[in-house]
Structure formats: C-alpha cells, structure tokens
C-alpha cells in the first residue's frame, strides 16, 4: 500500500512575527498554506498513492477559517473523485468539539473522536491495507491513544494514524496524547503515521516505521527550511519506500550576510546585494528571510543595528526593494528582519571609563555564572512594566536569557555609539 502521509497543515493560519508587510505581499503570503494544500493534492496524484493520510491539525479551529475547511474539503473530495481516498484524524488544533464543518464525504474518512476506528483501503475491489485511527474529541487529550490502536486484522499493510507526542514532555512539544515508543512497537501496526511535531523526523524505519512528516508549510522563523510530506510504501509488513516530497509554498530561512570589514554606511548595499543574490538562486519560490550580519564588521554596524528605529528604517528600504522586484516579476524574497551576529571590530574604551564600565556590565550579564544570573535578574526587573502589562504580556517577546543577553549587547552597542564612538570612525 502506497500512502501520502502529511500532518499539521494548519490551513489558513497566518504567519507569525511578520510586521511591516505591505498589503500586496501579505495577500501573497496569506495564500501560502492553501497553495501548499493544492501542491499536496497534485503531488499525491503524481505519486500514484493509494491513500492520503492526514495526521491531525489540518486547520486551526481557534482561527475559525471557513475558507480553510472549504478548501480542504474540496481538495479531498477532488482526490476521492480521482480514486484516492483520504483518511483524516483530528488533532489538538482541530478537535471534534472545535468549530468545524463536517469533513466526511464519500471517499473522505474522518476517524471518530476518542475511540479507535478502522477502514480498509480497497483498490479495484481488493483490500490492500487497513488504516486505524483516533481523533481528538477536545483540544486537550492526556490519554495515551496509541495504546488503544491495536492491530485487529491481517491485511497486507496496517497503518495507524494518530496526532500524538511520542517521547514525553522532554521533546519540547505540548504533551498531547502522550505515548511511549514501546506502545507503538507493541501495537502490531506496520507504519505509524503521526502528526503534532512540526519538524519532520523518522523515529523508526522498521517494525514498525514511526514517522512525523512535520508541517508542510512553516509559519514563522521558528519553522525554517523546506517542508513537505512523505510518500511511504508498506509491503508485506515492512517499509519498502519512504521519500520526502517538498510542498511548502513559502520558505522561512535564516541567511548569513558576510560583513567583514564593512561599516554602517555599507550595510544597506551589502544586504540589498545579498537579497538580489537570493532572488536569483533557487527556482523562484517565495522566501521569508532573516538576514544575519556576520563576520568582523566595524563597530558602527552593530551600533546601527542596535537602534531599533534605525534597523526599522533599514528594513524599510530592503522591503521596498523586495516588493518592487517581486512586482517586476522576480522571486519574492521578503526580509523579515536583520540581526547582528557580527564580531565587533572596535577600539576598546580605556579601562575605568564609563563606557568601559557599560561594556563590562553587558559582558558580565551574559556570563553563565552567578553574578551574570543576578545581573539578568536585575535587568528583567527593569522590564517589569512591560511584562506586567495585561495586553503586552502575551505579545512581548520572551525575555529568556538568550534574548536578554542579545538585548543587553545591543544596548551596550548603542551606548558606545552615544558615548562618542562615532559611526564609521
């Protein structure tokens, strides 16, 4: 049995963390998840699969996008019309009690919530496999659903379809339908088609194969790179083929920009030329990039990037150019942000001066020792108004140690600039 295994489509869920996006570009980016769905259907047809498996979180119930559900239903009905049945389980983002349309149509099988269901996959009157699955009745499922999915038939290929976190809370993912690998290996199934974890990973290749395909379209800089789904072929109880199929419409990427020897005055040109190079690379796919300035750059580079308003102005120039180029027919490469990863090339201020004290403090706060932790605690207190604010608490970026250290470094840079280290000097 040959299946197309995808999960976590999060259809029509907006991209996160993109500010200052023009309406035209936003409209383009908004279509990304739906275009990914279209690609999914096209690739499934092209791969000649016997079934499409969707392992939960096809859309976000909380977002209440009717469009996503309609497009999903239409896509699956279209596949069914072409003889490719779909098997769908619901996950924590699209549970059965969520706000959803009835997806079930002829050729589209949605597994029941909270209890195992099973379907034979029949091709030309012959049963070539069996799919078992459980949908989430509610958003929060703490039961181990994997244990309930036991193989009960002797079909040539047995697949379990589930939205679950395998491996416990240590994986860093919300621990829904928590399962242990032993639960899976003892189930008797040949292939575990999982969803929930957005980074694709093959936990086991055999007896049984356990696969997370990841989400086929990243939604923020935290989900970078090319994403897609798997085509898996199960023959005689073993995994005969497992191939990755790229599907994403927009790629999130961190892109290094070598700025050795550059000063603040060179930065805009440097970034623009890097963006131009990115546009000419690849196959014209849309990209959202975070430009990371690297190398031993002049202190003025860090000082420029340390001032949010100036960074914003710089980004404005880059985005204007990106949009103009895109409208002129080139690939869309949208600069999400510019961050400073350069090694400072600066004259160290005389020891004992106020500026030296500032830089010393910033370094001390970044240290892993106790003094550093104490300084960070003090610094966090300085940010208390922000994190005490009822509306901003949820929206402000997390002030974890890494963020705090970066902010302090930037603050030190801007103080250095303010205290007499001239730009471009």
């Amino acid at each position: 049995m040959r299946v197309f295994h995808a999960a976590d489509l999060h259809l029509d869920s907006p991209f996160r963390g993109l500010a200052q996006v023009s309406e035209r570009v936003a409209a383009r980016l908004r279509e990304a998840s739906l275009r990914t769905l279209d690609r999914l259907a096209a690739e499934a047809r092209r791969a000649g699969v016997d079934a499409v498996l969707l392992a939960g979180d096809t859309h976000d119930s909380a977002d209440r996008s009717v469009r996503a559900q309609i497009r999903l239903r239409d896509a699956l009905v279209g596949l069914a019309h072409d003889g490719i049945p779909s098997y769908v389980v619901l996950g924590n983002h699209d549970p059965a009690d969520g706000w959803a349309l009835d997806l079930a149509q002829p050729g589209v099988h949605v597994f029941p919530p909270g209890r195992p269901g099973g379907c034979d996959v029949v091709v030309e009157g012959r049963c070539i496999g069996h799919v078992d699955g459980i949908s989430y009745p509610t958003a929060v499922v703490r039961d181990n659903y994997a244990r309930r999915l036991r193989r009960r038939d002797d079909s040539p290929a047995s697949v379990a379809l589930l939205h679950a976190n395998v491996g416990g809370a240590a994986t860093g993912h919300a621990d829904y339908a928590p399962a242990r690998m032993e639960d899976l290996t003892s189930s008797g199934h040949d292939y575990w088609a999982l969803g929930h974890v957005h980074t694709r990973q093959v936990l086991r290749r055999s007896a049984p194969a356990v696969v997370y395909p990841g989400n086929p379209q990243g939604r923020s800089m935290r989900e970078p790179g090319v994403r897609g789904a798997y085509v898996a072929e199960v023959e005689d109880g073993r995994l005969a083929e497992l191939s990755f199929v790229p599907l994403c419409d927009v790629v999130f990427e961190r892109v290094g920009v070598e700025a050795a020897g550059a000063s603040a005055g060179d930065l805009a040109d440097l970034l623009l030329s890097r963006l131009a190079a990115l546009r000419s690379e690849g196959e014209g796919e849309a990209r959202v990039v975070r430009l990371e300035v690297e190398g031993e750059a002049d202190a003025s580079v860090a000082q420029l990037l340390a001032v949010p308003e100036r960074r914003r102005d710089l980004l404005g120039v880059l985005r204007e150019e990106a949009e103009a180029r895109w409208l002129a027919g080139e690939a869309l490469v949208w600069p999400e942000g510019v961050v400073d990863r350069s090694r400072r090339r600066r004259l160290e201020p005389p020891p004992g001066t106020l500026l030296a004290d500032v830089l010393d403090l910033a370094r001390a706060a970044a240290a892993e020792d106790e003094a550093g932790a104490e300084l960070r605690r003090e610094a966090r207190n300085a940010l208390a108004p922000l994190f005490d604010h009822p509306a901003l608490r949820a929206l402000a970026p997390a002030a974890d140690d890494a963020a705090l250290t970066a902010w302090l470094a930037a603050a030190a840079d801007r103080l250095a600039r303010a205290l007499g280290e001239e730009e471009g000097a």
């Binding site: 907006p14 949010p308 402000a396 007499g420």
Partner: protein
C-alpha cells in the same frame, strides 16, 4: 605622553614658532597680551584632535610636534587640506611606521581619549574654568563622570535620548507611542476579525444546516409540484365546464334537425350568382336609350359593323381636318399675298417692271453673287476715292485751274527763289548790323522810332493781308515810308561801316532784284517777297490736287463699267447700282422663299380637301347601303353621321348581349335545381339552410369535444368537474383560485429555500477564494508582530537605561571617591591650606568645599578665587586619575590663575610643579603675569617666554633658555 617639541608653521596669527626642549613637569609659558598664548593652546588641541579651530585660524594651518609616547618619540603633524578644514593628521611611530587620520592618532597616541575629555580636563582656558564654575551642581556632577569618558553635555544627551526613545516607544497610559498605537490598531483588527468571524460563523452554521435545508427544499418542491398539479386539474375542470355544455347543446340541435342529402357544393352561391346575372342583364336592357329616329336600321349597320367602327374611329381625325381646313386656306391666301409683296420689292430692287403673281425669275448662283459683290465693292471703292480726291482738290481750289495759270511754274525755280529769299533775309540783317555798328552812338531816336514803326506796320500789313487787304496795303505803305525814313538814317550811318557793308549791299541788291524787290529791301519788302512766293506755292499745290482728282474719277468710271458688265453677265439688269446689289439679292431671295411657302400651303389645302371629300363619300355610301335615308354626302356632317351609325350599332349589340345573358342564367338555374332535386330555387335554398345548420352543430360539438380531450390530456378530472358542477356558478372560480394560490405559496416556499441554498453555495464559493476571517487573522498576526517589535524595541531601550544607570552607579561607587580624594589634596595645596576637602553631596550631587575648621560651603557661595581653585583641583585630579587609569596626557592651562591672590598663586605654582613631577606628567601653564614667572622659577618650573612679534609678524619665541626667564620688574 609628553610634548617635547611643538612647531607651528602657521596657525592663525602664529607663524614659524618652534617650541623645542619641552619636557615633563611644569613649564610656564610667559607672554604679554596678544603674544598668542591662547592661539598656541588651540594649536595643540587642533594638532591632537582636529578640533577647536577658531575663525581667525580657518586659513591654511600646519602644526607638528614631537611627543614622547608609547615606545619612544612619535612625530605628529597636521595640515589643512583643500577638502578638510579639520586637516589631515600624519603620525610616525618611533619605529618610523607612518599612519594617517584621526583614528590612528586617537588609537595609537591618545589611548582612545575623546575630544570632549581632552577639552574638559586637559586643555582648559580661563573661560572654560569660569564656565565650569558657573555650572549647576548636577552638571558639575556630570563633569565628574567625564573623567571616565565623556563630557557633561554628552551625559545629559545620552540620558535624554534614552528617555525620549523609551517614551516614544511605549508608556503604559499614553496614546501616541508606537506600541500604544500598535496596540490600538491590534484592538481594531481584532474587532474586525471578530465581526468577520461572526459572519462566517453564521455561514458555517448555515453550512452545517445545509443537508437539512436541502431536505426541506426537496420536500417543499414535491409539495409545490403536487399542489400545482391539483390546482391545474381544478383549473382544467373549470375550463371544461362550458365545453361539456356545448357538446350537449350541439347534440340536441342535431337530433332536432332533418336528415337529407347534401346540396351540391356551392349550390347556393351558384344560384345567387346566376340569379344576379339574369337580373343584371334585364336591368341593362331597361337602361338602354331609344334608337335615334333618322338612323339606318340596326341590322343594316350590324351587317357592316367593321366599316361602321372604322368610319366612327376616323371621325375625330376628319373633324379636326375639317376645322383645320379654313385656317389652311387663310394661310395659303396670306402666302400668296406675301409672294406678291416680295415680288414687288424684288422687282423694284432689280429694276424690273411690276407684274402679276408669278414665279420668280432665275437668280444668280452663290458664286455669281460673290463675283457680283466683289465687282460692286470695287466700283463703290473707286467712286468713294474719286469723290474724296475731288473734295480735297475743291478745298484748295473751287474749280480746276486752267492750264498755265499761276502756280503752273517750275517747282525747281520756286524752290530756288525761296532759297534766295532766305539768304536775302540774312544778308539784310547782316547789313543792318554792320551799319548799326558803324554808327551806334549816332543813331538818333527819330530814325530808330521810324524803323521800329516800319517794322510794326509791315507786321500789321502781313497779318491783315488776307482779312483786310486795304488796311494791309495802307500799313505796308506806312511801313515803307517809315523804313525809308529809318533807312535814311541807317544808310547815313552805314557809310561809315566800311567796305564789307558795301559788298553786302550789292549782293542784297542783286538778290532783291531777282525777286522783284528794290535794291535795298526793307523788312516790308522782304515780307512782300515772301508773300508772293507763298502764293506761288499754294497755286502749285491746288494744281497738283486737281490732277489727282481727275485720275481717280477715271478709275471710278472704269470700275463702274466692270460692274455693269458683271451684272449683265449674271442676268441682272445693267441699271442695277452696285450699292443696291445686297438689297436686290435679299429681296430676290425673299421672293423665291415666299413663292415656295405659298406653293406648300396650296398643296396642303388641296390634300385636306381631297381627304375630306373621300371620307364623306364613304359615309354616304355606308348610309345608303345600310338602308338609311339618302343624304347629300356633304363633307362637314360626315363624321357626325359616322358616329350616329356607330351608336346605333352598339345599342343593337348591347340589346342582343343582355337578352342572351338573361336567357343563359335562367337555363343554368333550372339545371341547378334539377341537380339538387329541388323543385325550384326557393326549395333549393330551404334544403341548403337545413344542411348548413347541421354542419355547424356538428362543428360546435366536435370543437367542444376536442377542447375537452385537450384539457383532460389523458388525465381525468371527473371528480373535480363534478364538484365544480355541484357548486353555484359564481363560486367555481373562487374555489379554483384558492387552490392555485395554495400551490403558488408552496412554490414560493420552495423557491425561497432554493434561493437560500444558492446563496449559501455562492458564499461558500466566494469564501473558498477569499475570506474576511483569513484576511483578519493575517492582519491581527501582523499587528501583533508590530506590537511585539515595538515591545522588543522598548525592552532594548529600557535595558540600555538600566545598563546606563548601573554603570553610572558603579562609577560613582568605585571611581569618583578616589577622584575627590585627589582633588581634595590638590585643593588644600592650591588654597595654601585654607581649605581641607572637596566633597560631593550624594543626594543632589552638588560640590562643596570644606575649610580647615570643618565648615562646608556649597560651590555657589564660594569666592571666585576659591571656586576657580576648586575646579582647577578637580580637573587636575581627574587628569591624574585618567593618567593612571588610561594614559597621562599633557595638561594645558591658559591663564587659569587670574582670580588667584599672590599667595595662593605662589602656592598654586608650587602645587602645579609638584603635580607635574609625579607620574610622568606634563603641565604647560600659559600666563601673562610677570610675577608668576618668578614664582614658577622658584618652584623649579621651566620658563619660556613668548614675545609679541613686530607688526605684520606673528609671535615668536624670545631668546630664553630652559629654566631661565625674564627678570621681574
């Protein structure tokens, strides 16, 4: 760093100054006012930092120095360039490596020291010191931090920038900060999203309900169809009621009507047509007029019908001809009269005798006419020329002169005489001139008057010669007398003229004699001679004119003879004058034309008369042959009789035709009745009417039956029909309409459901493409990102402030107390032990001085001198601190001791010398006070003197050895 040598090639007013041999410790640079001390300090500042260029120094500047720095002696130079007024710095290291630019100087020589630090701590003038003294306490506190890296103004600026930035980004209750604005926008977007979600939520609910809705629609549609079918059946049943009634009525009528064979097809139409035909024929007979009484019998005419018609047809033509005949005859008569008139005129023109109306004689041909015209023209021309010549001759002489008459002279002789006369006139005039010349003075008035009178008289005689010969003669005589009188006088005087006059007189005499004049002709003689010659000339001309006239006359006669010959040849009377030729030709031609016209008219009249006569004869013959009464056969009433005959003929034919038609119709009617087995026409009509009623009744019955069948359409509605029939007639329509309304309502309901389904599907279709929720989600996400970005920016700004405050606090804790301790030590020395310490309030940061009695005074209430000493102490302490922590730099003080009294100045000099001796420091003190020189020398300082240059020169160094100096006054 120690400044060893300073060379100022050009800097403002200072030129070519070489300050060599400088070293560590205190060096006093003495110079009077305008010696260039302050300029020199600015030159050092400019050399090191490229700053502090005052207006007078904006020209080309070049300063260099040798300094002892890290690793040995460095050479530093700065020169202005075309592009940089702050100049370009050139640095050479002890190992002779070359560097350029401020960054190199700052990094390699000044250990990163900034301009603001140097200006505030190391190079201080009296003004800066005073300015610092006037600062507020907080700013003084700021100056303390400047020992670390920055100036007070920089500190304030940084703090203000950080505050402003944080405030611009976010304040919890502000409205216009970036984050607040982004939050507001986020709220708006969320509200819009919520609204879109509500709308799409309703749509989703509807979508969930769609199967139910579709079921409802299916049921409603089925019910609507059923009710519509029932209503249609009721409607048909209602419509069928009259047809049922019609079938019944038609069948009853058929049963009542007799049954018989059908009459022949169209029998009634044909019968009516035949009866109308017979009646028409009879009516035409009755309308015919009675036959004319004197016409021939109709039968005779019918036997000659063709001829009658031909004659009648011809009648209008003949009548027209008869009426035209009289006119023609008159025209002929007029033509004959015209012939007579033309003949008369022609004969007169041709010179023939009058005659009767006759044909014109033969006339010349056109060629002959041309020849005749030519001959006539020649004769006429010759005649005109002869007459003209005669008239010209007659003008000269009324009659031809007789042969040998006056004037019949020789032309040559006459010309010769005229020449002689002309010569004579000249000679006479010459002679008179000669004589006049001989006796001009002696000419007496009387002689002159006499000659003049003679001349006048002669002129009058000439003038009147023709008009009044007698008077002219008298005047001529008078002229002669007067000429003689004058001549006597002149002759008398001429004798005196000489021989030439005599010869001339002789010639005059000869000539005059030849012309028949006296020997000595006077003016009158000359005029008389001239008149005689003129008369001869005139007579000769008249003779010649008459000779020409006679010749012309002869030519005219010859031409006339030629014309007469030509006329005769052409058959014209010879007496015909040439001038009459054209008239004769015209009239002859007119005659001939008139004759031809008259002939044509005659032929026309004769032709008409012939035709009319023949027609009358034919009519008369017909009349007679048809048996009419005899007629005279006159031509004028022949057409009328032809017409009468035709009228009689046509009436006879009409009678016969009508009679025949009536009889034919009667026969046909009889045959028709016989065919229909009717007794007569009336019987036939009765039978046909009965048959027609049956046919109509059958048709009605069939049509109603057909309509019924159509209404039933295979589906019976007997029940409905019965029910309707049972209802009163007025209620039947209401019953059906009620059922139709019910069906319509059901249909409307089904349509409304279908419409809802359609709209739902359209909404779904639209949503599949674009969704407000989708857009709203995206907008909210972007607004959230905007808030997050703003919040992150605020966090950075807040952290920068935290960092700043934290560093400042550390500086205050760790650096400042040390500086204050050093400042206190210096302050004590500068005030010669009067004050103990410099302190700084922890709360306000204000500076204060504590004297040796422990009394504390805020800096604001200190005397100016003490205040200056406090700030000098502070600066020296900061410089010492900086020197220890960073690098020692030369301290340049320009006239900072101005407010010091003598005692404290001496103490300050000692303190500065002591300060300079420690830690490789260098203090350059500029002063204009001579007393300071001695005090400095006493304190062991090096003293250099700057002398003001001559006018036009810059300052220069006076000869002064290190350690030496001018003697105090």
């Amino acid at each position: 760093m120690i400044l060893r040598r300073l060379v100022v090639e050009a800097f403002g007013a200072v030129r070519d100054l070489d300050l060599d041999g400088l070293g560590g410790g205190l060096t006093l640079l003495y110079g009077p006012n305008e010696a260039g001390k302050s300029t020199l300090m600015r030159a050092v500042r400019w050399l090191l930092f490229g700053e502090d260029l005052a207006e007078p120094e904006r020209g080309a500047a070049s300063v260099s120095a040798e300094v002892e720095g890290p690793g040995g002696v460095w050479r530093l130079a700065r020169r202005t360039t075309a592009r940089a007024r702050r100049g370009r710095a050139y640095l050479t290291s002890p190992d002779l490596a070359a560097y350029e630019g401020d960054e190199a100087v700052r990094g390699r020589l000044l250990a990163g020291t900034t301009w603001s630090v140097f200006r505030q701590v190391f190079a201080v003038g009296a003004r800066e010191l005073e300015d610092a003294a006037g600062l507020e306490a907080s700013e003084v506190a700021g100056a303390l931090y400047s020992a670390g890296a920055v100036g007070a103004a920089d500190l304030r600026r940084v703090e203000r920038e950080l505050e402003e930035e944080a405030a611009t980004l976010w304040r919890p209750r502000a409205a216009r900060t970036r984050v607040n604005a982004a939050l507001r926008r986020l709220e708006e977007e969320r509200a819009l999203l919520a609204a879109a979600r509500r709308r799409e939520g309703e749509l989703t609910a509807a979508l969930r309900e769609r199967p139910h809705l579709e079921e409802q629609w299916t049921q409603a549609r089925a019910r609507a169809e059923r009710l519509a079918a029932e209503a249609a059946r009721w409607r048909r049943a209602l419509a069928a009621l009259p047809y049922r009634e019609a079938v019944r009525a038609a069948e009853a009528e058929l049963a009542a009507l007799p049954v018989g064979p059908p009459p022949p097809e169209d029998a009634l139409d044909r019968l009516a047509h035949l009866e109308a035909q017979a009646a028409g024929a009879r009516q035409r007979l009755g309308r015919l007029p009675p036959p004319p009484p004197d016409a021939p019998p109709p039968d005779g005419l019918r036997a000659r019908a063709a001829e009658v018609r031909a004659l009648a047809e011809e009648a209008p033509t003949r009548e027209a001809e008869a009426s035209a005949l009289a006119g023609r005859r008159q025209a002929w008569q007029r033509a004959r009269e015209e012939v007579l008139a033309a003949a008369r005129l022609a004969r007169a023109a041709l010179g023939e005798e009058e005659g009767a109306e006759t044909a014109p004689p033969p006339l010349p041909t056109p060629e002959e006419w041309a020849r005749l015209a030519s001959a006539a023209e020649m004769a006429l021309t010759a005649e005109r020329e002869a007459q003209a010549a005669e008239a010209a001759a007659r003008e000269r002489a009324p009659a031809p002169p007789a042969a040998g008459a006056d004037g019949d002279g020789d032309e040559a002789d006459l010309a010769e005489r005229e020449a002689v006369l002309a010569g004579l006139r000249q000679d006479v005039a010459r002679l008179a001139a000669l004589e006049g010349a001989a006796s001009t003075a002696g000419v007496g008035a009387p002689a002159f008057v006499a000659l003049a009178g003679a001349a006048l008289a002669a002129a009058g005689a000439w003038t009147l010669a023709r008009t009044a010969p007698a008077l002219a003669a008298a005047l001529a005589l008078l002229a002669l007398v007067l000429a003689w009188v004058g001549g006597r006088g002149a002759a008398g005087r001429g004798r005196a003229a000489g021989r030439e006059g005599e010869a001339l007189a002789r010639a005059v005499a000869r000539a005059s004699t030849r012309l028949g004049g006296p020997e000595r002709p006077g003016a009158a003689d000359l005029e008389a001679m001239a008149a005689a010659l003129a008369r001869r000339r005139e007579a000769l001309a008249a003779k010649r004119a008459w000779e020409r006239a006679r010749a012309r006359r002869r030519e005219a006669e010859t031409a006339l003879d030629a014309w007469r010959e030509a006329a005769r040849t052409a058959g014209l009377p010879p007496s015909l004058a040439p001038a009459s030729l054209e008239a004769a030709r015209a009239r002859g031609e007119a005659w001939r034309a008139a004759w031809a016209a008259a002939e044509r008219e005659r032929a026309e009249v004769e032709s008409l008369e012939g035709r009319l006569r023949a027609y009358a004869e034919r009519v008369a013959r017909l009349w007679a042959e048809a048996g009419g009464e005899a007629a005279d056969g006159g031509t004028e009433d022949a057409p009328a009789r032809a017409r009468l005959a035709l009228a009689v003929l046509e009436r006879a034919e009409a009678v016969a035709e009508a009679q025949s038609e009536a009889a034919e119709a009667e026969r046909a009617i009889a045959a028709l009745c016989a065919a229909a087995a009717a007794e007569d026409a009336e019987d036939l009509r009765r039978r046909a009417a009965a048959f027609e009623r049956r046919r109509l009744a059958q048709e009605r019955r069939d049509a109603a039956a057909h309509a019924l069948a159509t209404l039933e359409a295979g589906e019976g509605f007997e029940e409905e029909a019965r029910a309707l029939a049972a209802l009163p007639e007025g209620e039947r329509e209401g019953e059906v309409a009620r059922r139709e309304a019910e069906a319509q309502a059901a249909r409307n309901e089904a349509d409304a459901l279908a419409d809802r389904l359609r709209r739902l599907d359209a909404d779904v279709e639209r949503l599949g493409r674009d969704s407000d929720v989708s857009v709203g989600l995206d907008r909210v996400a972007r607004a959230e990102a905007e808030v997050a970005e703003g919040a992150a920016a605020w966090a950075q700004a807040a952290l920068a402030r935290w960092l700043w405050e934290r560093a400042k606090a550390r500086y205050e804790e760790e650096r400042q107390p040390r500086t204050l301790a050093l400042a206190s030590d210096l302050f004590r020395h500068l005030t010669a032990g009067r004050h103990e310490r410099v302190v700084r309030s922890l709360g306000s940061g204000a500076l204060a001085a504590v004297d040796r009695c422990g009394v504390r005074r805020e800096v604001g209430i200190l005397s100016q001198g003490t205040r200056s000493q406090l700030y000098l102490a502070l600066r020296l302490a900061l410089a010492a601190d900086y020197g220890e922590r960073v690098t020692p730099l030369p301290v340049l003080l320009d006239d900072v001791l101005m407010a010091f009294d003598d005692r404290r100045r001496a103490a300050a000099m000692r303190a500065l010398a002591a300060f300079g001796r420690e830690g490789g420091r260098q203090v350059l003190l500029f002063t204009c006070h001579l007393a300071a020189v001695q005090e400095a020398a006493a304190a062991g300082a090096q003293v250099r003197t700057l002398a003001a240059g001559e006018e036009g020169e810059g300052p220069h160094l006076a000869a002064s050895a290190p350690g030496g100096g001018p003697e105090p006054a």
